[in-house]
């Protein structure tokens, strides 16, 4: 990298602590030179997007300083960042779907120039498109356009506002391979024009292919900034996933029993209607933990929701202990011995309801009379059992669970499934956001359940967790299982590469 280049962006000692005490970023430094493509690499929750939203003025940093072209700035909102020549392309586009591209361009241009005519915008846009060498049909309605073209319209919109810095948040996650190639071609053209580009991603291949330099974040901290040409994908994988193993959980070899869950060629769509799970087949046996590793957004969530019956299945089969449940409802599947602990406590719990009411959620059929009356005495016995077995610390059984700590909320979610004594546990991100003590407790609980002969499907983006707990590991990437095997066959580097879409 030529050193005489100007520094376009300097972010110094940026920290972001949320009101609930979650540390999103701690003392992160980022320097981006003018006219380079700078990769921002990290696992989910590493703080990539938060850092960029701070740069874009959307979030205020708790601490830290931002300099643009050497001048200190402090934005009150994205509109100020836009005036300073920063543009951001989100994963979800900010176009009005029922407007034409031109109308969208005009709308956004009014933030720079209040009274701009449609013909002026058209002239500028056409000139710009010739310069960059890409095509967007200006008179087409946005929602009729393919995603890749919508993204181009979004980029055009930002460039039209004379942006000098372009931030792209995981731009390829919505694109097909061909669209990705076109995007990269565009980005290279933009770079030649002197536009500075920040490219947020977790895909190692893309980092190698497109970026000049790359900054790696892990768990809200800066790991380092390197010149892309000087590192290998393995180096990057190691930087991204780290090596810290902070907990030791002793585990005896698995005593595997019958097959209790069989998934065959499962296809599931995500909320946007795109294929999220693409032909996944898995078998799960009694007495084992099968860990599914992968960066968030590679279809894991859709996979487990489909198994639980919350998300419709496009194609494929799910068999629970010999019963084909593909067409069965969630409640029927739970009754057949399936338990699902979702990745988010917002999904699994009704925070404004009491502990009793929350433990009743998946145990409802046990506390109902024939006339569908709820026996709250019986329900509170279940709650007491959960509290006792998992050592839940709570002010009372009738206090809303929002007053419980995250760890105790997690214990409630796991505990109410344990007392049902199911055969299969589907557990997603069981220790996300928990402190060390709670994490250890939950992990030990999972191991003891496995030792009791339960089958556990563990979905986690935390590689330490996967490595520690799993007897077998499967890696999901872009909706497919790209590797599956015994835990010993995977090193953390290999997992990192597989998760980044590199064959290893």
């Amino acid at each position: 990298m030529p050193r005489e280049k100007r520094k376009a962006i300097e972010m110094l000692n940026i920290s972001k602590i949320y009101p609930d005490g979650v540390v999103a970023l701690r003392d992160v430094n980022l320097t981006v030179y003018e006219g380079e493509i700078h990769g921002l690499l990290g696992e989910n929750g590493a703080g990539k997007t938060t850092l960029m939203r701070i740069l874009y003025g959307e979030i205020k940093p708790t601490k830290g300083e931002i300099k643009l072209f050497g001048r200190k700035v402090s934005f009150h909102g994205p509109w100020e960042a836009i005036r300073h020549g920063i543009g951001m392309v989100y994963q979800h586009f900010t176009l009005v779907p029922t407007f034409t591209v031109l109308e969208n361009l005009q709308l956004s241009f009014t933030s720079v120039e209040k009274k701009v005519s449609e013909s002026a915008v058209r002239k500028n846009a056409e000139k710009l498109m010739r310069e960059i060498g890409f095509e967007v049909p200006l008179d087409a309605v946005v929602e009729d356009l393919p995603i890749g073209v919508q993204q181009r319209a979004e980029i055009l919109k930002i460039l039209l506002r004379k942006a000098k810095i372009l931030i792209l948040d995981e731009p390829t996650s919505v694109l097909t391979p061909i669209e990705t190639r076109e995007l990269f071609r565009t980005l290279k053209r933009l770079k030649e024009k002197g536009i500075t580009i920040i490219f947020i991603t977790h895909k190692l291949k893309e980092v190698k292919e497109i970026t000049d330099r790359v900054t790696v974040l892990r768990k809200g901290r800066l790991v380092g900034t390197v010149e892309t040409a000087k590192v290998t994908e393995v180096d990057l994988a190691r930087m991204m996933v780290g090596r810290e193993v902070f907990l030791k959980i002793s585990k005896t070899p698995a005593k595997v029993g019958r097959k209790v869950l069989e998934i065959a060629d499962l296809w599931v769509k995500d909320d946007r209607g795109l294929d999220a799970v693409k032909g996944v087949s898995l078998d799960l046996y009694e007495g084992e933990i099968l860990g599914i590793a992968g960066v968030q957004g590679n279809g894991q969530k859709e996979l487990v929701e489909a198994i639980a019956g919350i998300r419709p299945i496009i194609k494929g089969k799910i068999i629970v202990d010999g019963d084909d449940v593909t067409k069965k409802s969630t409640v029927e599947r739970y009754k057949l011995g399936l338990a699902y602990v979702p990745d988010s406590r917002l999904v699994g719990l009704v925070l404004d309801m009491s502990l009793i009411e929350n433990t009743t959620l998946t145990n409802l059929h046990k506390v109902l009379t024939r006339t569908k009356r709820i026996l709250w005495d019986r329900a509170s016995k279940i709650a007491v059992k959960v509290v006792k077995e998992l050592d839940v610390v709570t002010p009372s059984l009738s206090a809303p669970v929002k007053y419980l700590s995250g760890g105790n909320q997690q214990k409630v979610m796991v505990g109410r499934e344990i007392v049902r004594e199911p055969k299969i546990f589907i557990v997603a991100e069981p220790t996300h956001g928990l402190d060390v003590g709670a994490t250890e407790f939950i992990r030990k609980t999972l191991v003891s359940l496995r030792d009791k002969g339960k089958a556990i499907l563990l979905v986690s983006t935390d590689l330490d967790e996967i490595m520690q707990l799993s007897d077998r590991i499967a890696v999901m990437y872009e909706g497919k299982i790209v590797a599956i095997g015994k835990a010993e066959e995977f090193s953390i580097e290999r997992l990192g590469l597989l998760m980044g879409g590199v064959k290893a």
Partner: protein, 358 residues
């Protein structure tokens, strides 16, 4: 073991429920005081003596128990019509139209069958049908329930008005509808407070039944889970859309019951300007808010609102204040009751600000 558990439970109930109710009660009281103070200020600015007006409001408002409780009956039920869907996360402002259709259908049924029970049931069914219709529009066609309710309220208003003036009017007194037959009217029952209309007790029983449904049956549980967190309902295998439909059906039935009871047990006929019905549905929103969407709380808040209505009429009569004054007072109090949400928002905002500074 059993003893320990019941001890734990006992302690809990006392402590938590007590704290919860205490906080709610304090909130309501503070809001009422703020509301009455602002009301006093308005009265003072308009040149009235607040002390005198308020003394009329309370003494006259509470002087006739039968009148007070009879007036509270329809708004108690339209209060439930708002509260039940609210708990399921639906904003039902259609209590007004549901009340009209309930009164209208029960009038037709009761005059043709001379059976008050059939009349009441048909009113409930009509209200429930209207509620369900809106719920289905919302769930399956994505129609916003507020918009649907606003439009359907007017449809019901003009439909009722048309039928009253064209088809169901009393030939002897043309500005009134045909009356409920004498043998089908609900009367009063004697109590220590004097004779009280039967319809009040029916409304109270309805509130208690709703309380039971909401807090002691699986339907009520499903409804509350879906209202607080639709995604959790889905996770637990409940369909949040079903909750929307159930809640709107039950809420509609309550408003329909309100219309039917008002007709069969109190006014016996509807005047063709519909002044006997107009506004009772909207009043229910205030009743539900003051009662914190709790069916038991709604019983008391309906009586409080009834006092405001009656007292307001007397203010007009005795102090010569404009009739809008009573409405203004009611409005100010309802707004003040929304204040607790504001306190909470302010507190959390201040906490975030403090965190940011650190």
């Amino acid at each position: 073991m059993g003893l320990v558990q019941s001890l734990i439970r006992f302690k809990e109930r006392i402590r938590v429920k007590y704290e919860e109710y205490l906080v709610t009660t304090i909130e309501i009281l503070v809001s009422a005081i703020i509301g009455f103070s602002i009301g006093a200020l308005i009265l003072y600015v308009l040149g009235f003596d607040p002390a005198k007006i308020y003394s009329i409001l309370f003494t006259k408002g509470l002087s006739n128990p039968n009148y007070l409780l009879s007036k509270s009956t329809p708004i108690m039920l339209t209060g439930l019509a708002f509260a039940i869907p609210m708990l399921a996360g639906v904003f039902n402002i259609g209590g007004e139209g549901q009340l009209y259709i309930g009164a209208l259908v029960s009038l037709v049924v009761v005059t043709s069958t001379h059976n008050p029970i059939l009349g009441i049931l048909s009113g409930m069914i009509a209200g429930a049908a209207l509620g369900t219709f809106k719920a289905i529009l919302k769930v399956y066609r994505g129609v916003n329930e507020v918009i649907a309710a606003i439009m359907l309220n007017w449809v019901m208003y003009f439909l009722t008005l048309y039928l009253l003036t064209e088809k169901l009017y009393n030939p002897k007194i043309p500005h009134e509808s045909i009356p409920v037959p004498e043998d089908a009217r609900l009367g009063k029952i004697p109590t220590p407070l004097g004779d009280i209309r039967l319809i009040f007790f029916i409304a109270v029983i309805a509130s208690l039944i709703v309380y039971y449904i909401l807090y002691y049956t699986n339907v009520g549980y499903l409804l509350r889970v879906a209202g607080l967190s639709p995604q959790t309902a889905k996770y637990a295998g409940f369909n949040p859309n079903i909750a929307v439909i159930y809640s709107m059906a039950l809420g509609g039935a309550m408003a329909g019951l309100g219309g039917a009871l008002l007709l069969i047990g109190y006014v016996y006929s509807i005047d063709t300007t519909m002044s006997t019905l107009y506004g009772l549905g909207f009043m229910g929103i205030g009743v539900a808010l003051l009662g914190r969407n709790n069916p038991i709380g709604i019983i008391f808040s309906a009586i409080f609102f009834s006092m405001l209505i009656i007292g307001g009429e007397m203010i007009e009569l005795l102090a010569g204040a404009p009739p809008e004054l009573a409405d203004t007072l009611t409005g100010v109090i309802v707004i003040a009751l929304a204040l607790p949400y504001t306190y909470r928002m302010l507190i959390s905002y201040m906490r975030i600000r403090r965190m940011m500074k650190e």
